[in-house]
């Protein structure tokens, strides 16, 4: 490994959060961004080639060292680490609305989901998944919400572009499925041609 790759490895290990290429470039005043990218590539190869249980992952616009998924069960069973709490259906739906409609106010979220959203919004905000990004023009200048950087980290996304594009969604593409089918997703119906 090059000295820069070693520096980067040390930084990623110490920071325990995604570090951007720009941040990593601070390590060596002589390093160009392209040098950092090359070193990151080298580091990734080292981990992959030697079959390390750790891999270099692109996450939330940066890079982070994470254990490989294959070892999650064993680590968890031994209680060396705690799995991140599962997001509730309400939380996921609210996140979905915010991710696609941001900046978006509470009223619109409630209109789409058909239920009040105050509690969910508060807990998502407490977990750092969403944040207030401004105020709307409507009466009372309602708070507008958007996704926070933690949203990408928790969902393992690099940026919002990783979200499925709306035209990729299966709705209006699939024929109605028979009842016996696995109905775990809500994409089973198409509007009839009228």
């Amino acid at each position: 490994m090059t000295p820069l790759a070693q520096l980067i490895e040390a930084a990623l290990f110490a920071a325990a959060r995604p570090l951007t290429v720009e941040e990593l470039a601070i390590l060596d005043p002589d390093a160009e961004l392209s040098d950092v990218r090359a070193a990151l590539g080298q580091l990734r190869e080292v981990y992959d080639f030697n079959q390390h249980a750790i891999e270099l992952v692109e996450l939330a616009g940066g890079y982070q060292l994470l254990t490989r998924a294959a070892f999650a069960a064993a680590v968890e069973r031994a209680q060396f680490a705690i799995r991140a709490p599962r997001l509730t259906a309400a939380a996921l739906e609210t996140l979905a609305v915010i991710a696609y409609r941001q900046p978006v106010g509470r009223l619109e979220i409630e209109e789409i989901r058909g239920v009040s959203a105050g509690g969910v919004l508060r807990s998502l905000q407490e977990r750092g998944l969403i944040e207030v990004v401004g105020r709307g023009e409507a009466l009372g200048r309602p708070l507008l919400y958007g996704t926070a950087p933690m949203f990408l980290e928790v969902l393992g996304l690099n940026d919002l572009g990783d979200l499925p594009r709306t035209e990729e969604l299966t709705i209006a593409l699939q024929p109605p499925r028979p009842l016996t089918d696995d109905t775990h997703d809500a994409a089973a119906y198409v509007p009839a041609e009228s």
Binding site: A16, A72, E93, L95, Y100, V154, P178, L179, A186
Partner: protein
């Protein structure tokens, strides 16, 4: 998946008090009225764009009744919406009438929109599951702010701090409890003896020689008690005049 299991609950959980269904449990099974509505449509294998409003409205009402959701305002709001649609659909109209807008259009739009959100939510859930399979160094989220530097104090500073705390404590109000037993029985016996000997005597005589405050109080209480019981009569000839204690005339001297 979750919806089906919620409907298939063999018996609603009951409280110890009786058979009141625990509606909260079932509220959790649906993430809202739109979810419940989609579930009903799916069960009936009905296409969203062609909802038989009357039937679905009735089923919706029945569901929220059966599920014990009737306290949830969100569901009631949808129930009201469905009933209004049901009424609108019953209004007579000419099929070729220009400009007629299907009153269900808004509901259909919302259902489709909600379905899309459900699909995205599902995708997000899977993404989060995948991410949870990978651990970063240390599983706790990084602290938002640097923790304060460790506290460094020497023994003297610590003792001075303790001193400041102790000084600030107000002196406790100590109250010495001195046992001063009143001897009302003894005083009663003494008064009775006096009454036996004399039909009338004064307060000072009743007290006896060199009375303590306890003796005075005991005697006073005994006097009042005896007066109340009718053994003796207390009299004052004038305000602030010496008290005269007289045997009750009706009580025979023995």
């Amino acid at each position: 998946m979750e919806q089906t299991s919620a409907i298939a609950l063999p018996e609603p959980p009951t409280t110890a008090l009786g058979a009141s269904p625990a509606f909260v449990v079932q509220l959790d099974a649906f993430s809202g009225p739109l979810d419940l509505l989609l579930h009903l449509l799916r069960e009936e294998q009905i296409e969203i764009a062609d909802i038989p409003i009357a039937r679905i409205a009735d089923q919706f009402l029945q569901s929220i009744h059966e599920l014990g959701l009737n306290q949830a305002a969100d569901y009631l709001e949808m129930a009201g919406r469905l009933l209004r649609l049901k009424a609108q659909m019953l209004l007579p109209r000419r099929s070729e009438e220009e400009g007629w807008e299907d009153p269900r259009a808004e509901l259909v739009r919302r259902l489709l929109e909600y379905q899309q959100i459900r699909e995205v939510a599902l995708w997000l859930g899977k993404a989060a599951e995948r991410r949870a399979e990978q651990y970063s160094r240390g599983y706790l989220p990084p602290p938002l702010a640097l923790p304060p530097p460790p506290l460094r104090v020497d023994l003297l500073e610590l003792l001075q701090a303790v001193e400041r705390v102790i000084v600030a404590i107000p002196d406790p109000v100590l109250h010495r409890v001195v046992p001063r037993p009143l001897d009302v029985e003894g005083a009663t016996r003494r008064l009775n003896a006096l009454l036996d000997a004399r039909s009338e005597f004064g307060w000072l005589e009743a007290l006896g020689p060199a009375p303590t405050i306890t003796d005075i109080l005991s005697t006073l209480l005994a006097l009042l008690e005896l007066a109340r019981g009718g053994t003796l009569v207390l009299q004052q000839t004038a305000p602030f005049a010496p008290m005269v204690i007289r045997r009750d005339a009706s009580r025979p001297a023995d």
